[in-house]
C-alpha cells in the first residue's frame, strides 16, 4: 500500500505543534547529533535567530552514513514520543549537503501560496475536480 504524501514542512513548525501526530512530513535540517544505540538523530535549522531542533527516529533507514553538520532531508511520520515531544519516524533520509536552503524555503512557500490562492479563490480547479 502506498504511504501518505509527505508534505514539505519547516522544522520550526514541528515543535510548535502545527503538525498533528500521524501526519507525513518532509523536512530539511542540519544533522547535529546521532545516537545509533537509540536510533535517534537530531536535525536542526535556524529560523528567526533561533535554533530549532527535530528528533528523527532512524530505525527504518539504518544503516546510513551520518555526517555531522551536513544537510539531510527526511520523509516520515510525526510521532509523539515520551520525553521528546514530536518526533519524525523516518522512511527516507537523504544527505543533500550543499542544498540552497534559502531557495528551497522559497520554493516551499511558493508552492504553499499557490495552493492557498487556489483554495481561496472560488477555484475552478476544485470545482471540476469534485464535479460529478
Amino acid at each position: 500500500m502506498l504511504p501518505a504524501a509527505a508534505v514539505f514542512h519547516f522544522p520550526w513548525e514541528i515543535n510548535s505543534g502545527e503538525v498533528q501526530e500521524g501526519l507525513s512530513v518532509r523536512l530539511l535540517g542540519r544533522l547535529v547529533c546521532y545516537q545509533p544505540e537509540e536510533s535517534r538523530a537530531t536535525l536542526s535549522a535556524q529560523h528567526a535567530s533561533k535554533e530549532h531542533q527535530v528528533v528523527v527516529h532512524t530505525l527504518f533507514v539504518e544503516p546510513f552514513n551520518p555526517i555531522i553538520g551536513a544537510q539531510y532531508i527526511v520523509l516520515g511520520e510525526i510521532e509523539n514520543a515520551e520525553g521528546v515531544g514530536a518526533m519524525v519516524r523516518a522512511r527516507v533520509l537523504n544527505c543533500v549537503d550543499g542544498v540552497n536552503v534559502a531557495l528551497l524555503q522559497k520554493a516551499t512557500n511558493e508552492q504553499r501560496s499557490f495552493f492557498r490562492e487556489r483554495e481561496h479563490t472560488p477555484g475552478d480547479a476544485e470545482q471540476t475536480a469534485h464535479a460529478t
Binding site: 502506498l2 504511504p3 527516507v92 543533500v96 549537503d97 550543499g98 471540476t128
Partner: protein
C-alpha cells in the same frame, strides 16, 4: 462554466479536445491533481483538469514504495502533494541484460572491446531504471485507472541524480507558474461564430472586407463605405435599460465598431491588400489588386529598367522596384503591397521572376 460548449456530462465535446494544446503535452500536474481529476464519460483514459482534457502527465518525485516484477517495476512516487503508483515496464534491452549477465563476456586486454562497452552501457541504463526507496524518479506517461486506482503507465522513466535538490527546487518553482499560465486558465475556444474574443473578430472583420473587395471589384473606398459590413460583429448590448437612463460606462457599440474597423484596416495595410496613395485628411484607400494604375506603373518600371545594362541580365531587385515606385508613383506603397502586385503580374505572365527577389520582362 461555459454552458454552451459543454455536453450534458459537463465535459467539453471530444471534437474540440485536440484544439487544447495541453491535450497533446505531458502535463506537469501535481500528483494530488492527477489523483483527483475526473475521468471522461465519453472516452475512458481521458481526464479533465479544469476542463482541460489530459491523458498523459509528467511527474517528478521521491520513490516511497517499490516492487519489482518479472516484466515491470512498480514505484510509488511522492511529489509532496500526493503519492501515485507508476507502472514502469522493463524494456527489451533490460531483459537481454539479465540474460547476458549470466553468460560471461571475455575480458579484453586493454583495447576497445565493443562487447564490454555495450555491457557497461546496459549496466548504466539498468542502474537508471532500478530505483530504491528515497531516490528521485522522473516519469512521463498516460494516466490509467486500474482497480479503481489511478496510476501512471510510464512511457519514459529514469532516476534523477539530484544530490543538492537543484532539480527538485527548480521543479517546485516552475510548476505553480505552469498552473497559473496554462492549466488553471480556461481554454478559449469559439466553436460558433459568436465572435466574442477580440482576436477572432478582427480576423472575421478582415475576411468580410476582403470578400467585399472581391465581390464588388472595389478599387477605392473610404472607411465609412465598409463600416456597416462589420456591424454584425459587434455584440448587441441588451436594451433593457429605460431610454431616459444614462448609458453605462465603457465603449459604446459605435466606438467598438470604429475601433474594430481601424484595427482591420491596419491589418489589411500591413498585408499590403490596401494602401493609401496619398496621406491626407481624406481617408481614401486603394485596393492593391484592383489598382490598374499601380500595376501599369510597376510593369513600366521593370520594362524600362531592365533595358539598362545593370539590370539586363538578372532583372530588377524588388527593393529597387520599390524605391522606383515610391519615387514615381506614390510614397506610401509598402513592400507587402508591391509583392502582391508583382505576384499578380507574374500570374498574368507580364513579368517573370528570375530569382526570389528579382524580376524582369521579356
Amino acid at each position: 462554466m461555459q454552458a454552451p460548449t459543454m455536453d450534458p456530462a459537463g465535459e467539453p465535446p471530444s471534437m474540440l479536445w485536440g484544439l487544447d494544446p495541453i491535450f497533446s503535452a505531458f502535463a506537469r500536474l501535481y500528483v494530488r491533481d492527477i489523483l483527483q481529476m475526473t475521468e471522461s464519460t465519453q472516452v475512458p483514459g481521458i481526464y479533465f483538469y479544469n476542463s482541460h482534457p489530459i491523458y498523459k502527465v509528467d511527474v517528478l518525485g521521491t520513490v516511497v514504495y517499490q516492487r519489482e516484477r518479472e516484466d515491470f517495476f512498480c514505484y510509488g512516487v511522492d511529489d509532496g502533494t500526493g503519492v501515485i503508483n507508476c507502472l514502469c515496464w522493463k524494456n527489451d534491452l533490460f531483459k537481454e541484460e539479465e540474460n547476458s549477465s549470466k553468460s560471461s563476456v571475455k575480458p579484453s586486454d586493454g583495447g576497445f572491446n565493443p562487447g564490454s562497452e555495450l555491457k557497461k552501457l546496459r549496466q548504466a541504463q539498468q542502474s537508471r531504471c532500478r530505483l530504491e526507496i528515497g531516490e528521485l524518479l522522473r516519469v512521463r506517461g498516460p494516466v490509467k485507472t486500474s482497480r479503481q486506482q489511478r496510476e501512471i503507465m510510464a512511457s519514459c522513466f529514469y532516476k534523477v541524480n539530484d544530490p543538492v535538490m537543484a532539480v527538485q527546487i527548480a521543479w517546485m518553482m516552475e510548476v505553480p507558474q505552469l498552473y497559473r499560465q496554462c492549466y488553471d486558465k480556461p481554454l478559449q475556444l469559439q466553436p460558433t461564430a459568436t465572435g466574442e474574443s477580440a482576436v477572432s473578430s478582427i480576423g472575421k472583420a478582415t475576411n468580410i472586407i476582403k470578400d467585399f473587395f472581391k465581390q464588388k471589384s472595389v478599387s477605392r473606398f473610404r472607411p465609412y463605405d465598409v463600416q456597416d459590413l462589420l456591424q454584425p460583429l459587434i455584440p448587441r448590448q441588451p436594451q433593457t435599460a429605460p431610454a431616459d437612463q444614462e448609458p453605462v460606462a465603457g465603449p459604446s457599440a459605435c466606438q467598438q465598431l470604429r475601433q474594430l474597423l481601424k484595427d482591420a484596416l491596419k491589418i489589411l495595410q500591413d498585408e499590403g491588400i490596401v494602401y493609401r496613395k496619398v496621406k491626407s485628411q481624406d481617408e481614401l484607400y486603394h485596393v492593391t489588386a484592383q489598382d490598374k494604375d499601380l500595376l501599369i506603373a510597376v510593369k513600366d518600371i521593370i520594362r524600362e529598367d531592365c533595358k539598362r545594362e545593370k539590370y539586363a541580365e538578372k532583372g530588377c531587385h524588388i527593393l529597387h522596384i520599390l524605391s522606383a515606385v515610391r519615387q514615381r508613383y506614390s510614397l506610401n506603397v509598402s513592400r507587402a503591397a508591391l509583392e502582391l502586385v508583382l505576384k499578380s503580374l507574374e500570374c498574368n505572365s507580364d513579368v517573370v521572376s528570375t530569382s526570389d527577389s528579382h524580376y524582369t520582362v521579356f
